[in-house]
Point group: C2
DNA sequence: TTGAAAGCGCTAACAT
DNA sequence: ATGTTAGCGCTTTCAA
């Protein structure tokens, strides 16, 4: 009762393996008569192709282009790139090659330039973080017409109709931060939402988080006061001053930092004031964040897991190209809550 | 600069492909002279075997035996079995067959009988939950001598030297529950650890959790009083009465239920008393638990993810058999915290 | 429109 | 001890 092979189907149908292949893949010319015979056999059995043989037989080697922002001081993106590289190493044994195209995240024409370079390389699949949505549109159109599969990463664009979108629900992420902020809090508390970014207005990923946070707070019977503050890293002194003022306000019981790199900055500035009653919540398992998570200055981190997100993007493309396995259209990563106590269980785990 | 094949290595070394194969896999007889020549080439290049071709070439089909407790009313184990089946379907395309052997979790001789049946089937790999540690020893010895790889699941036994252990750190899990329990709590609180199991004494997975929980509470400056209670499901009325007494004690601010199925029972018994100040913490994303997580009666669930644990066990065995890829010796799953707010992000995610 | 056959890179059986 | 060769199940080319 073993799996039937193409050869077996051919014998059953009284045709050659070539014809069965043509029917199976709907390629080349097949007479109605032969078609009927093969279909009859196919209906009767449950043919499962041997994907390994298929891949070996079609001796193709695939190239995947990864188009991402390059930003050495931005942990989220540098971890994403690490994820691409890790997955690339894994799939290289299957003849998959990765080419990385890095653009300046603050410069639209750099995005266009790099994406164009990728396009001219005619890759078989694409992983792209289309943070310049408008500029990206034309490329999507081109790839769609060319039947080149592309996966969107981090920034979604519904009408792009990609093979898959990989990311997180940022609104829900903000709501989660709200929930964690309010556990066990009293009435009449004041909470700070702190964006530390050059250009908050044009950063939907930050404002989405704030919206979610506020929505949770408003729905809560504790009805805390929520204050938003936008800062740029450019001036460390302004951050310093901001934290000083917050520390002086005894009503403040929590700070929600919407980015990855900055929670640790806030933590180290806040620490001297010994305001252990201020609950600090931020993002991602960066080394500096972990230091402050362990000392308790940071209470919760929400893990976005950029490395695994990116690695999964590559894997999905590889599986699609090699084995015709389609990924789910939406790959929303779970909102992982990291505390002092479960941190090690994440760090020691290869699963994430 | 494409990848070199065995054929290329053979030509470079001036030997045949057969000899290269022998050197590569250290099998058969090879003269020192030939060995040296091949090694010289191998040192010079970075040979990466084509795993697809290897798998196809060694036209083996493998059988994996999964030896697990069968317990319809036990969500943890039934989800594990689901995980095995899911992974089995995935790997069937690669010629991997799964045979499941289910034993009675309360009956040692049923364990022996089923494991013996599995052994007699001479599988190529084994996934086993050795909850009868003593009885399992002889089997491990046999498989080790037979070079049959086995992966331990849920229950670890250091001296078993398996290919891999898959599970969670239960002590840390208890500590995490402690941390979640004490966030924002006041002094002078009383906390309940509730084991609902037929045989708590012989359930190290439950007592480990309690130890971790107590350890965290003792280290906390809040110094809560911790009371343990053991109950059997046999008597629903006794559970009822226990909850009634807890609800009457205004000092109680939290209940930690150490099992998967029971948090929802406790929740529904507790709900009528409107003790929203009692924080209920339990395990796993069972449907009934989710209902109470959404209403707020259950505040946190710690996800053990049995389904994914089991699926990963099968995947590790499959990768080992098919591609000679060794898993990490210890696969400790992260301690995932589930709340009302991040729940959906887990449910919608195929990643877990 | 169809069948036959070569070949993907590797393994394993078979000569020598 | 070593080289040769026939597969693994599929794709793809080439004749017919």
């Amino acid at each position: 009762m073993d799996n039937l092979r193409i050869k077996d189907i051919a014998k059953k149908a009284g045709v050659s393996t070539g014809t069965v292949d043509r029917v199976l893949h709907n390629r080349g010319k097949v007479s109605n008569n032969a078609l009927a015979k093969v279909k009859a056999v196919l209906d009767e059995i449950d043919y499962k192709p041997n994907l390994i043989a298929r891949t070996l037989g079609s001796k193709k080697s695939f190239t995947i282009a990864a188009i991402l922002p390059m930003q050495d001081d931005d942990a989220y993106w540098s971890q994403s790139i690490a994820g691409v590289e890790q997955a690339g190493a894994e799939w290289s044994q299957y003849g998959i090659k990765i080419k990385t195209f890095l653009f300046d995240k603050l410069n639209g024409s750099s995005f266009i330039k790099n994406t164009l370079a990728a396009l001219n390389d005619t890759p078989d699949g694409i992983l792209i973080a289309p943070i310049f949505l408008h500029e990206a549109r034309a490329f999507f159109k081109y790839w769609r017409e060319n039947n080149t599969p592309y996966i969107l990463f981090n920034t979604n664009l519904k009408e792009a109709s990609p093979l898959c979108f990989i990311g997180q629900n940022l609104y829900e992420s903000g709501k989660l931060a709200g929930e964690l902020m309010l556990i066990g809090q009293q009435n009449q508390t004041k909470l700070i939402v702190l964006h530390i970014d050059e250009d908050v207005k044009n950063s939907p990923h930050l404002t989405e988080k704030e919206k979610g946070f506020r929505s949770y707070c408003e729905s809560s019977s504790l009805a805390p006061e929520v204050v938003s503050i936008n800062l740029s890293h450019a001036l460390l002194s302004s951050i310093h001053q901001c934290i000083q003022e917050i520390a002086a306000d005894l009503q403040v019981k929590g700070i929600f930092v919407t980015t990855s790199k900055e929670p640790s900055i806030v933590a180290s500035l806040l620490e001297p004031y010994k305001r252990t009653d201020i609950r600090l919540i931020g993002y991602d398992l960066l080394e500096q964040n972990l230091v402050h998570l362990k000392t308790g200055t940071i209470r919760f981190l929400i893990n976005q897991n950029p490395k695994r997100q990116a690695a999964l993007g590559i894997s999905h493309l590889a599986n699609y190209l090699l084995f015709k396995k389609s990924p789910p259209p939406l790959e929303l990563f779970p909102l992982e809550i990291i505390t002092k106590e479960n941190l090690d269980s994440y760090l020691n785990s290869d699963i994430h």
